[in-house]
Symmetry: C2
Subunit: 336 residues, 2 copies
């Protein structure tokens, strides 16, 4: 006999997994008719409602809470798409909380998600402080970070290897004959998306015997269009002989494209450009952007699957490194 699970019951009764869960947990939001149907289905399948309900002991709300500092961006969009896809296929609902640009609302939202009794937490694209990780641990629900940075290494992480991905982007340019390569980065003080990418850039230059010059790295406040535009203008003024730029986000790269138009430079004829992230923006620029994809959709899916995986000891819940990939489009030319 099949192991009695809520999934089979839902399928047999042709209702959602969430509805079966609600009925067995005496929740709200279903008709008496549906309740009758579900209970009869369980009986017909040869199970008892209690056997089904037992499977739910650790799955009381069938809800995953997602905390992210900016719901807006194209990066969050892709990560969320992956989260929702994997969560819904396992009968889980997802509630998303916007922790504000600097994560200022994080503690408030952790408390809220605790009240709402989520079954798991995904902590996306932000810096996880010790205060946050301490609170998460006392909540006693599984948590995974996605493309985030935490001082507490016991919380499993799903992310790309940023240093290696930046290294590969810069090496891609070097292999196409470029030796005067600038970088538009995030702040070097940003341990999440700033310093690792800068380190990758430096390391690629070093390994290919190209002298490093820190005035060839420019950054502004963040990873946005205006930041990219201003940083690119600065770089081009200081170093008119650059033949290529590596930008640490697609949006920074799109700002660099605007700066090139303003300077009368043509991409890739006068300047080659590699972006980072692989969001849909990289397809929408002109020229379309060669970029390092972080495979954010896969990242979101992987995180959910790891979060929901039944394990013996939460100490050993594992994270994952997502393989990055260079997507070649029209913004880089080979020079000899």
């Amino acid at each position: 006999m099949q192991k009695p699970t809520i999934k089979y019951v839902a399928k047999e009764a042709n209702v959602s997994i969430a509805t079966v869960s609600r009925i067995l947990n005496n929740g709200v939001g279903y008709s008496e008719k549906t309740k009758k149907l579900v209970l009869e289905t369980i009986q017909q399948m040869g199970y008892s409602p209690n056997a089904i309900a037992r499977g739910l002991i650790n799955k009381q709300s069938n809800t995953i809470g997602v905390l992210m500092p900016e719901i807006s961006g194209l990066v969050s969009a892709d990560i969320l798409q992956g989260i929702e896809k994997a969560a819904h296929s396992q009968g889980q609902s997802v509630i998303v909380c916007n922790t504000a640009p600097f994560g200022n609302q994080t503690m408030d939202y952790l408390k809220l998600l605790q009240e709402k009794q989520v079954d798991g937490l995904l902590f996306t694209s932000q810096f996880l402080t010790t205060e946050h990780s301490t609170y998460i641990k006392q909540m006693d629900v599984p948590a995974i970070t996605i493309s985030a940075y935490s001082n507490d290494k016991t919380i499993p992480a799903v992310r790309v290897d940023d240093e290696q991905a930046a290294y590969d982007a810069v090496q891609y340019l070097i292999k196409r004959g470029h030796r005067h390569i600038g970088m538009i980065s995030g702040s070097p003080d940003d341990p999440l998306a700033g310093s690792p990418r800068i380190n990758g850039y430096k390391k690629a230059l070093y390994d290919h015997h190209i002298e490093y010059d820190d005035s060839k790295i420019a950054w502004r406040y963040g990873f946005y269009f205006e930041d990219g535009r201003e940083a690119c203008s600065t770089l081009l003024q200081k170093h008119p002989n650059l033949t290529a730029i590596f930008a640490a986000s697609d949006e920074l790269a799109s700002g660099a494209i605007a700066a090139c138009y303003e300077s009368g430079l043509s991409i890739p004829k006068d300047l080659s450009l590699v972006g980072y992230d692989g969001t849909k923006l990289s397809k929408m620029t002109h020229p379309a952007l060669t970029t390092v994809s972080q495979h954010f959709v896969e990242m979101g899916e992987t995180a959910v699957n790891l979060l929901l995986k039944p394990i013996q000891d939460t100490k050993y819940r594992s994270g994952a490194i997502i393989q990055h990939q260079i997507i070649e489009r029209a913004s880089v030319r080979t020079i000899n």
Copy 2:
């Protein structure tokens, strides 16, 4: 004496409004020390905890639920930014649920938000069916739609006047000498963002004695870059004499720009283009896009303020029309 409110207590005790609420509701997520501080503050201010708690009877969770079919887009981003800003300034938390592209998850998420006892619902950018509105009414919490379409006109709506906004965009082109104007639209069957904008286009042509030709309207599946690119190619093949195009979203317009590059057309020299939405994408295209701003941030703020406004009779909760605005940039030229 000041009316005892949770807001003043929070300010005086230097804790968040949500924390005061949790303490008075015997919630979780605060220390004994904080609880003591808050209760003492209430006493010092000359109130009783019960008086404060009474003000919370209809505000049990201090949480607003937002349902949107796509968290990803730049439109949702701006609306959410406005929602969060207004909600946080009133001590409310926001949880966001992604109802999937066709709103397939809407009923499941309405049930979830009911279980989570939200104080109000914002229903964004999607079609509200009778099933949805019936369920919302039995939930007995206030609800407002934002840039959405509902058959049930008793649910207050916050939106722009789409027909008028499209009319103004097309009239803007006509006043700059254009008479051969195409449109890239959403599906005419889409009552939310399709037909009203098409009607505005038609009406502007009619009022300025320009013959309407339905083969000058092109659309594909949705409002995305690829839709805009394909629809623009089709339009330019059928009507090489067009001097201007009105695109019903900024992303459609960015696709049209790509199609023009592919056809060797220069914007605005060979073709003028007006977008719609006023998202940040409109600043990032080359040339920067003249567009109709829907003021989405203001839309989100307005909806929250109307939702939280104390009223005598929920039957008379009101909606609002947000004033649209043409933002002039570099994609339109005047012809004589």
